[in-house]
């Protein structure tokens, strides 16, 4: 079993696999996002309570889901790279970090943009937004640590440890913030709720969520491909590939 994984986890195979997958992923992401946007912005009915501003949900919620999902992927692939010393796992983790950070930032800003029309303030210390903010710090810590260490493999392993420590702390942070938020809830319910989701509103959300997942895979593979080009530039297979493919 190991030889199978090691064979497929070798940079060469991964690069060829990525080259084949990238165009498909790119197009399917685009189609899904266009369909999702069409459904979300045009087809889905207006919310009787929040009017049109609720449509921000089709970007905010998938981004929030992705920010959490990608950190989990980073922790798992970091662990794989740390324990089984598979270079590609490290490349996946470090390629995912900027995408995850971008989604977290997107979730934060769209959350504030959605909050403004409803409560008149740009920022409200709501439990989910605060957890998202802390998650952004975790991402920035990961990226900062990775750029601070010169040796690529040491950086990957150190970041894997950080991601694992982070992933253990995420539920604790989330619980603490939720608990802290309910304490200071006070009378006015500033609960940051999604409106009651009619199916016609829910479908676009699921399409967008799927589109974001494919997009993540697409963007991550793009970055992994560049990392392979950088780390394997002296290998014979790379040279043949480049000289062979004279495009």
């Amino acid at each position: 079993m190991w030889s199978f994984i090691h064979k497929h986890a070798s940079p060469k195979h991964f690069y060829l696999l990525a080259e084949r997958l990238i165009p498909w992923l790119g197009w399917s992401t685009l189609i899904l996002l266009v369909v999702g946007l069409y459904q979300g912005l045009i087809v889905a009915p207006t919310d009787y309570q929040q009017g049109e501003s609720y449509r921000i949900i089709y970007v905010h919620v998938p981004a929030a889901w992705m920010s959490m999902f990608i950190y989990m992927v980073m922790a798992t692939s970091g662990a794989i790279g740390l324990v089984w010393k598979i270079k590609m796992a490290d490349a996946v983790a470090s390629s995912s970090a900027p995408i995850g950070a971008a989604f977290t930032l997107l979730a934060l800003v769209t959350g504030s943009l959605w909050g403004k029309p409803m409560w008149g303030t740009w920022w409200v210390w709501d439990a989910r937004l605060t957890s998202e903010l802390i998650l952004l710090f975790l991402y920035l810590g990961f990226i900062a640590l990775e750029s601070a260490i010169e040796d690529r493999r040491t950086a990957a392993n150190a970041c894997a440890v950080l991601a694992l420590v982070g992933v253990v702390n995420i539920p604790i942070i989330h619980y603490s913030v939720e608990w802290w938020n309910t304490l200071h809830q006070g009378a006015t319910v500033t609960r940051f709720d999604k409106p009651a989701m009619a199916t016609s509103m829910l479908i676009p959300l699921l399409i967008m969520a799927l589109g974001f997942k494919l997009y993540y895979l697409y963007a991550m593979l793009l970055r992994v491909r560049v990392k392979i080009l950088e780390s394997e530039k002296d290998t014979t297979w790379m040279k043949e590939l480049i000289t062979g493919a004279k495009k």
């Binding site: 740390l82 710090f137 810590g141 900062a144 601070a148 440890v161 420590v165 982070g166 702390n169 603490s176």
Partner: protein
């Protein structure tokens, strides 16, 4: 590995770090002075008005304790990294997590304990009511070890870097947030006379989690940083 040599290794490491810290006085004094100065900044910055300071006292003291511990974390591995004794520790047949736990305990005794001893005086200066004093001491007693334990992971990750200081705070502070939330809230609730068992249980749970997992993570991080 006879357990006699295990406990011997642990206590030797603890004694070693304590003697080293006691011989360089400044290592103990600096975090303590920092703690006092930061706390006394708030009345100047916000207002000397009693009721305001009383409500903010738990938060001020705990944020200052957080930052003071953060500053003193560097001393756990920095000098050992520079003179090669960290390498010797990694090459010891004794389990590294145990040796690291000894060093972290020494760091807590040198940095965490003084904070606990001086905190009541600062509490009084911020008009903290008498009922909250026990909560202040209890939360610091349970919380500062977690700060040292979790902080040691961050400092182990950045020990090899020249300018690791700022990076250390970015790595470690987010992980301190649960402790900060439950500790400062416990003091505030106690000040209002309500029982704080729940918060203390949670802090104790964080302590148990940190004391079991953190040394292993720190050992792994050290092995990686010293590659």
């Amino acid at each position: 590995m006879k357990n006699a040599s295990l406990s011997n290794a642990f206590f030797t490491m603890l004694k070693r770090d304590l003697t080293l810290a006691l011989r360089t006085r400044s290592e103990i004094a600096n975090p303590l002075l920092f703690f006092i100065i930061v706390v006394s900044l708030f009345p100047l910055a916000v207002s000397p008005e009693e009721s305001l300071l009383r409500t903010m006292a738990p938060g001020i003291i705990w944020v200052a304790a957080l930052l003071a511990t953060m500053l003193s974390l560097d001393s756990i591995f920095r000098s050992d990294f520079e003179d090669g004794s960290l390498e010797q520790m990694l090459l010891s047949p004794q389990p590294i997590a145990l040796l690291v736990l000894g060093k972290i305990m020494a760091h807590w005794l040198v940095s965490g304990l003084p904070l606990i001893l001086i905190a009541p005086i600062l509490g009084i200066s911020l008009f903290l009511p008498g009922e909250a004093m026990f909560a202040l001491l209890a939360t610091l007693a349970l919380g500062t070890p977690v700060l040292s334990l979790v902080g040691s992971i961050g400092v182990a990750l950045t020990v090899g870097l020249r300018r690791g200081g700022v990076l250390l705070s970015l790595l470690v502070l987010p992980l301190y947030i649960p402790v900060l939330i439950f500790a400062s809230n416990a003091i505030a609730t106690a000040a209002a006379g309500i029982s704080i068992k729940g918060q203390l249980y949670f802090l104790a749970a964080l302590f148990a989690l940190a004391v079991t997992l953190a040394p292993m993570a720190t050992a792994a991080a050290l092995r990686i940083s010293l590659r």
